[in-house]
Amino acid sequence: MAATLYPMTGFEFVSDSAPARDATRPLEAFLRGVERRAWRVAELATGQREDALDLVQEAMLGFVSRYGERTPEEWSPLFWRVLDSRIHDWYRRHSVRSRWTAWLGRRDADDEESADPLLAIADGAEPGPLARLADREAGSALDAALRALPLRQRQAFLLRMWEGLDVAQTATAMRCSEGSVKTHLSRALSRLREQLESYQ
């Protein structure tokens, strides 16, 4: 990106000058380090690759414009807070549509299953990233168990146990009290243990 001088104003709009690059380098390193896990969290929440990409992009834009000036120590919980907010927005937008889709889908499924028994067989065409791994079975079970969790429980588990945020940081990211984080996490661990203990 080149520098552009606007003669009428005398302002120089530079988006990639050396000082600007130096200033954004730590931020870029942070985003580079977190973006894959962010996409995975969004993908587990939405079940859609494209929607997850959109959410991560929106979260990056919101985080950089709103919290980019904060100290690097503050970035992690704030980034996850923005992404968590975007995921909640996505849930709100899709809640009404999902209700209608589920209702109509159930009616359609009932009709189709009675007409063609082959359609009742589970579709393995959308296994998700975990299914591509060597231990396909355990990965699929984990994927399914995580998707089945309520949003708050899944977020508490992923942020606290996988991302490694402490309780206070997780509470900041989830915009709730530390007590709520502990409750959500405890329930998530209990449900996951039930379903995944046999895959050790």
């Binding site: 988006s15 995975r40 985080f63 414009s65 895959y199």
Partner: protein
């Protein structure tokens, strides 16, 4: 992030999640990189635009304040219009009228005449 106090199923689940992130396809990684660059590119540009608009605003406010201060502090100028100003304006109107030019020139004569008439009456 291995911790000995963690249960085996949890340890394995977290390892699987890490592996799933490493197995993300190239197309998704490319999209993520573009999203990152897009977000970072907007940051310094936005700041400079706002700094520019801020500078224009401050400069305009300073010029306005300086102009007002000069008007208020002008020496010899009355703070507010006085009634005498109206009288002065009327006199100027009389003097500007061609018909009254002679009257203004012979003002001393008419003052003397007026005094004589007053004395004669008295």
């Amino acid at each position: 992030m291995n911790r000995p106090d963690r249960e085996p199923w949890l340890e394995r689940s977290l390892a699987l999640l890490d592996q799933s992130v490493d197995a993300i396809d190239a197309s998704t990684l490319s999209r993520l990189a573009r999203a990152r660059q897009h977000a970072l590119a907007r940051r310094p540009a936005q700041r400079r635009v706002w700094i520019g608009f801020g500078a224009i605003g401050v400069a305009a406010a300073l010029v306005l304040a300086f102009g007002i201060a000069r008007q208020v502090a002008k020496p010899g100028m009355p703070a507010a219009p006085v009634a005498a100003a109206g009288t002065q304006a009327d006199g100027d109107d009389i003097a500007a009228d061609d018909d009254n030019a002679e009257l203004v020139e012979d003002l001393d004569f008419y003052a003397w005449l007026d005094a004589r008439q007053t004395d004669d009456r008295g």
